[in-house]
Symmetry: C2
Subunit: 282 residues, 2 copies
């Protein structure tokens, strides 16, 4: 099996490392030739391809690990080389937008395209942070369409299971609504928290007083702004719904504080604590 990975960052680089460790030949494509050459020297890639269509024509599996904001352009570039028997999959954080991108490029979504989202991102980006075990035990969500080919779907399962992931299937709208809540909204919350502190007149006096709680709560505010701008826009309807629900809880906090209603505050805090306990892990 020969795999082409477009976009050799944290996700694409980690997939490359994991596949190479299992003997798979991995070719990489990216915008920056200098960084790609560095990725080859670092042992992340076997080879580089400059032309996506040529690379796709030579591959059994094509993985688009580019930011969602450039997914459509990458699809358009590889489309002339994509054979019907080649698995095309992606690693985008939003699935409705990626399906819309495919529809825009091909008219219909190709039967050999299996939209996928490995839940393994972090605030770090770049292949320098890539790890062969990044997907080990992590979930990968596949959002096949009614017309997705059974063979392509099976190949997508096999690809991600080979690198240790737990593969689940759901519809793209269900994925996008869930990820708006579990990932995209937390990023907005963390960015907003950090930005609101930065705007204060006493901002420079705040940082020495920051304890672990603020650090935890804002860790993902260190994530790449351009990447998250694109994700937010790509999933904006579901994200606005989640954001509305979040703001409603905050509005309720403000009202409870105004009237000194500790009972109301404690009830929501308790609901939150119980839900947090239902999340596994620390």
């Amino acid at each position: 099996v020969r795999v082409l990975i477009a976009g050799v960052g944290l996700i694409g680089g980690s997939l490359a490392l994991a596949l190479r460790a299992r003997g798979t030949h991995v070719t990489g494509h990216g915008r920056d030739a200098t960084r790609l050459a560095a990725a080859v020297r670092a042992g992340v890639l076997d080879a580089i391809c400059e032309d996506l269509a040529e690379g796709a024509a030579a591959a059994d599996v094509v993985v688009l690990a580019v930011p969602v904001g450039v997914m459509r352009a990458a699809m358009a570039a590889l489309a002339p080389g994509l054979a019907p028997g080649t698995l095309l999959t992606d690693a985008g954080s939003t699935k409705g937008s990626v399906i819309a991108d495919a529809r825009a490029v091909w008219g219909d979504v190709p039967a050999n395209f299996v939209p996928a989202h490995p839940l393994a991102g972090s605030e770090r980006s770049g292949f320098e942070h890539a790890r062969a075990d990044l997907f080990s035990g992590r979930r990968v969500v596949l959002t096949p369409l009614p017309d997705t080919a059974r063979g392509a779907l099976a190949a997508a399962h096999a690809l991600w299971e080979e690198v240790g992931a737990i593969v689940v299937e759901m519809t793209a709208p269900a994925h996008d609504a869930a990820l708006a809540a579990t990932s995209h909204l937390p990023h907005l919350a963390a960015y907003a928290l950090m930005a609101s502190l930065a705007r204060r007149a006493d901002a420079s006096a705040l940082w020495p007083l920051a304890a672990g709680g603020l650090r935890d709560t804002t860790r993902i505010a260190g994530a790449d702004p351009a990447l998250w701008r694109d994700i937010a826009l790509a999933n904006r309807e579901a994200l606005r719904t989640a954001l509305r629900e979040y703001r409603a809880v905050l509005d309720g906090f403000d009202a409870a504080l105004e009237r000194g209603d500790g009972t109301a505050l404690a009830a929501v805090f308790e609901q939150a604590r119980a839900a947090r306990a239902a999340l596994s892990g620390p």
Copy 2:
């Protein structure tokens, strides 16, 4: 030096461990006799006192490490036994409220009372999580008043420096405004995030899809609801100010999403990322 600690939880228990490790005799007071006895067996305390006034009369230093919601009651209970030469200090998360409590109990704030806040809390509570090195390298904020006795202030510095803390001084209003931003607001943000997810119709489907970002962002939503209800109420004016600024940024996100304004989103994300980078530590 004989120290009395009222409230043997994470903070009081850690202070007890740190002082005992340096040879200081530590007596503990608390509401729950069974838990206090367990703290003695666990080596956290030398002795127990049942009556706060008696305990205060026998101590050189009295530390109120009780939740801010019961600070006034604890002061009233110990007041009959407090000698003018005894250092009284506390570990409350809000300082304006604690000073108001002292004024309510004594008429004027006693010259031997030095309000203090060790920035060492976590989402864990109880002496079972206490550690002798909890304060090592952590900041402790003292908020002395114009009438605070120099000797008491020096003794408070010595107490916290002895257990490894970096002691800083500021006014109570400056402390409360800063901590509203760096600690109390992040707790509201985390509680609200977790509560808003818990209220969704698809809540049970969300938890398996939660990645590290959600876990980090909501870790402090595991904190004690009653404790944080009291802190929020005790600092509600400064907290409402910080909450208003936070909600304004979120309102801006929603407006930017509505009009598809990626430039506006990315600008705030970048401001947040730069500020997060200014916070030391991971």
